[in-house]
Structures are given as structure tokens and as C-alpha cells.
Symmetry: C2
DNA sequence: GTCTATATAATGATAGAC
DNA sequence: GTCTATCATTATATAGAC
């Protein structure tokens, strides 16, 4: 089992139950690896795992979303790609956001917390750049990018709280629609 | 120290760090009470505390928001009152939502989880009823109420992740503005 | 109703063999 | 790189005095 495969399991565990609720024994059971194997891959223990998951999520978003948004291409296609990836990442509205789950866990260490929180800022910046590329003024681009993230994240929270995942898909569609120039 | 005072401390601890990250020792330190005193007030232990906090939050929202929204009064004033209370409750965008923090903690017990999650549904319903009282069709009232909660909750998440609490106040104002009939 | 002292289980983490 | 066995610590929870 490669380290990245372990990290993907950790990603799912941490975002679903929160960093503190997941024990090394849980991770051992979920991966099928013994505790010592886990400490071999992550010498720093649980905080090390938190950092690896945060880096993984950050890298994934950069490759799949940020680079795509700031690269060449038409805005409508960029927005479609972002919506498709985001919907899959959040399980159509049923899977929690890692940022939200890890933000409240100081025991995960400041590095991991800073990394996950920075994902949100980078996301807004990348989206803002895609809008500026369409000729939108910088301030309006930032406002609209922020509003989109607000709608996406809020849709996820409300969908999961109410148990109605259609709320997420509706919010995501609405957020995308408002982004078209 | 009365039980409700303890619950208010628990409310703050649980929403800020999450249920699992808060130990009985933490609670003892925050309240100044010994462990045995805490178990005297909450014989069921930590899950009992989670249930009490969930009930407290549910009752607080009912008294301060739901009853107000579904009672007599003009819509603009209702919305102003809701905005003022919500902004204070969420620390102007700096304090996490208990619902979000407790939703991901299965160890808190199903009762507490169900209670906090139901707050979101009741909130949407109360807001929808206030809109229907202004003559809005039921389906549109529900859609707009849901959209408002999406914007409020999303504003809180994005504000806390980015560290820019003005995002929350902007989202809250926007949500309220969209609710006026 | 609060305290001190303690029981018991689970936690994160390590040692050393293979 | 993974395992078994184990350590030290912390967790939840309880007993019993006051």
C-alpha cells in the first residue's frame, strides 16, 4: 500500500468524522495496516497525517481546479469542469468538506490548519482570476468569486444538516450560473 | 453554578473545538468544577452533555428566532431581529456554528446529532412561514428560505476559513435583502 | 453539590523481530 | 515495510467523604 493510498483513506476519515474523532486504531482498521506501519509512513504521528492530508487536498485542488481556472480556456467550460469536480468531491452533497472538518481541530497542528484554510483563499483567488480574464474589474471579480464559494459551502452545510442533498446541487448550479459574465 | 450556566460553557467549547476534542478535564477547567460535579449534573457523561447542549441550542433558536418569525409582526422587523441575533450568535463571523461542529461527531450520540440537525430544518420552516404570511406561495417561500440559510451558513464557513469576517456580514446582509417581499 | 482519590479502558506512540 | 508486544499517558467514569 502506497503512502498516497493511505492519505486518501485518511482524507475520507478526517473529513467525515473530524480529526480528533479518528484514532490510530480506526486508521489501522480502515487501511488494514498495523500501527507501526502507519508510524513508518508518518513518523510525526497523527499531526503528521493531518499535514499529509492537508497537502494532498491542497495539491488536488490546485491540479484539478485552480490550475484549470487560471489556465487557458473559455469561462463556461471552466465553470462546468469545476462544478463537475466539486460535485463529485462532495459526494453530490453528502460528504463533508475537509476544510470545515479540520478547521476546528487545533490538535491537528497549525501547519495542517493553515494549509486547509488557505485552500479556500486560493480557490477564491483562482476563480477571481478566471473572471478578470473575461474583463471583469478586480473588485467585482473577487466579490462574485467569494459569493460563489459562499453558496457552494453553504449549500453543502444545509444539505447535510437537513439530509436533503438536492439543496447542494441547487446551490452549486446557482453559484455557477451567477458566475457567467 | 447552575446547570444552564454549565451548558452555556459546553455550548461554546463544543462548537469551537468539536465534541470529540473537548475532554472532561477541559470542561472541568473551563467551568471550575470537579469531574464528579459534572457527572452529578450529567449522569450520562459526555453524550448527556452533548444532548443538553443540543437541547439548549434548539430551545434558544426557538425562543429567539423561530417563535419570533412565526409570530405577529412585520417582515422587515422580523428579518432585522433575526440578523441581529444571528450575527451576535456567530460572533460576527468568528464563531463556528454548533450544528456544523456537532454533525460530524457520531460519538455524541444519535439524539444530540438529530437535535442539532433538526435546528436547520426548523429554521428554514420558520423562515418559510414568515414569507408565506406575506403572501408568497409555499414552494417559493421554501426556496427563498433555504437560499437564505445557504448564504448565512456559507458566509460563516468562508469567513472563518479565510479569516475575513466581513464576508460573513456581507453574506448575512445579502441573505436578508433577498428575503424582503 | 462539590471534593479527592481511584478504577478501567482507550489513546498515541515505540521497541525490536522478521 | 510490516508485524506483535508493550509503554506511558490520557480518557471517561465511579466511589465515597464532606
Amino acid at each position: 500500500m502506497t503512502r498516497e493510498e493511505i492519505v486518501m483513506v485518511l482524507f475520507d476519515l478526517f473529513r467525515r468524522a473530524g480529526y480528533d474523532a479518528v484514532s490510530i486504531a480506526d486508521i489501522s482498521a480502515a487501511t488494514g495496516l498495523g500501527k507501526s506501519s502507519l508510524y513508518h509512513h508518518f513518523p510525526g504521528g497523527k499531526p503528521d497525517m493531518a499535514g499529509a492530508v492537508a497537502d494532498f487536498a491542497s495539491g488536488l485542488m490546485r491540479v484539478k481546479v485552480f490550475d484549470m481556472l487560471t489556465g487557458d480556456g473559455a469561462l463556461p467550460q471552466k465553470l462546468r469542469d469545476m462544478a463537475a469536480f466539486v460535485s463529485e468531491m462532495y459526494g453530490g452533497g453528502g460528504a463533508p468538506c475537509l476544510i470545515s472538518s479540520m478547521m476546528i481541530s487545533p490538535t491537528a497542528g497549525p501547519k495542517a490548519i493553515d494549509t486547509v484554510r488557505s485552500i479556500m483563499t486560493e480557490w477564491i483567488n483562482a476563480l477571481g482570476q478566471a473572471l478578470r480574464a473575461q474583463g471583469l474589474p478586480a473588485d467585482e471579480a473577487k466579490q462574485r468569486a467569494t459569493a460563489a464559494l459562499v453558496e457552494i459551502q453553504g449549500g453543502l452545510v444545509v444539505a447535510r444538516a437537513t439530509g436533503d442533498i438536492t439543496i447542494f446541487e441547487t446551490a452549486l448550479k446557482s453559484a455557477i450560473a451567477r458566475l457567467h459574465v
